[in-house]
Symmetry: C2
Subunit: 193 residues, 2 copies
């Protein structure tokens, strides 16, 4: 059992994901999740505001880890380098790959969970852009760098989930290189046909 699964929140996340997978997201109640985790509903609501949130508990840890890592990046680093350096700490707080794969499948099958994921990613983007602005980057550059970094983060995450041996920092670098290739080949729109 991974370390995070030993704590209350981890047990609730595991129970929620198992039930969503076994019987469907719609048919699962908070009471069932708590029971499966051998905890009370009251415990559930100490950690999560609703059943959707049980799949997004890792988001707060990620955001915290990113902000701590950004604060440690030397002054003068470029905005994208700053974010990718911070992201390279993410593997330490990621849930196990098998959990993340199951989670991704449940999210893909349930529009309410997809919406919540979009909201969470948008919130993370805002936090990262604000952190870059705090470091002195202009807001437009900070936002573009965040969009680029989030594209790299998504791509690296997909590859990390499916490749058991991958090094996460190497995947970030490779995904950033892929994005650069796409941008570098065609920096401007071609004339309309």
């Amino acid at each position: 059992m991974a370390r995070w699964e030993g704590n209350t929140r981890g047990r609730l996340e595991r129970a929620a994901l198992d039930l969503f997978t076994e019987q469907g997201y719609d048919r699962t109640t908070v009471a069932q999740i708590a029971k499966r985790a051998n905890l009370t509903e009251r415990s559930f609501y100490r950690w999560f505001s609703d059943k959707r949130e049980a799949l997004f508990g890792g988001g707060e840890e990620l955001e915290e880890a990113f902000l701590t890592a950004i604060a440690a990046v030397p002054e003068g680093a470029g905005p994208l380098a700053t974010l990718l350096t911070a992201f390279s700490t993410a593997a330490e707080v990621f849930r196990p790959r098998a959990f993340l794969r199951e989670r991704a499948a449940v999210i893909a099958a349930n529009p309410p969970l997809q919406e919540r994921e979009l909201v969470k990613l948008a919130s993370l983007s805002r936090t990262l852009t604000a952190a870059l602005v705090d470091r002195g980057h202009d807001p437009a550059t900070a936002r573009l760098a965040t969009d680029a970094a989030m594209a790299v983060f998504r791509r690296a995450g997909e590859r990390w989930m499916t490749d058991e041996d991958a090094d996460y920092t190497a995947l970030l670098a490779a995904s950033a290189a892929d994005l650069l290739t796409i941008l570098a080949e065609e920096p401007t729109p071609s004339p309309r046909p």
Copy 2:
């Protein structure tokens, strides 16, 4: 009066935006929107499934315009060039700048509208990625190119809204160049401090 404001849908969009701005999104009902537009509630529901949708009516036209433009891009064009070429047709279906600025302010002030916008943009992204895959690009490249293009689209849109004299195709090119600069300076994460 702009051409789109003369039709039923345009009148409903205009009425909805005016009421959201004047009295708040929460306090506005579909009945009020229809009344302001001199139309019936029945007319409203012919065009929109709920009051939130009244601010996103332009999305379908955009998507349609993009797909038509993508189909006209010569085979062999790169994935980002394909999308940016398609985006360059967008100015023709954009609502007037003043409308878009008011709309952006209402969305920024109302989380339910922000969520709907995220869902709409994610749906547009999926459509564009699928269109690239149909043209023979591999899915991972198609998705990364779409993420890059959406970052450029967002940035160009912000600039277009505030600069009355801007040429939209030029803004797309300039925004893509800005994104390239960010990527090119730092293609890989720097080592952790």
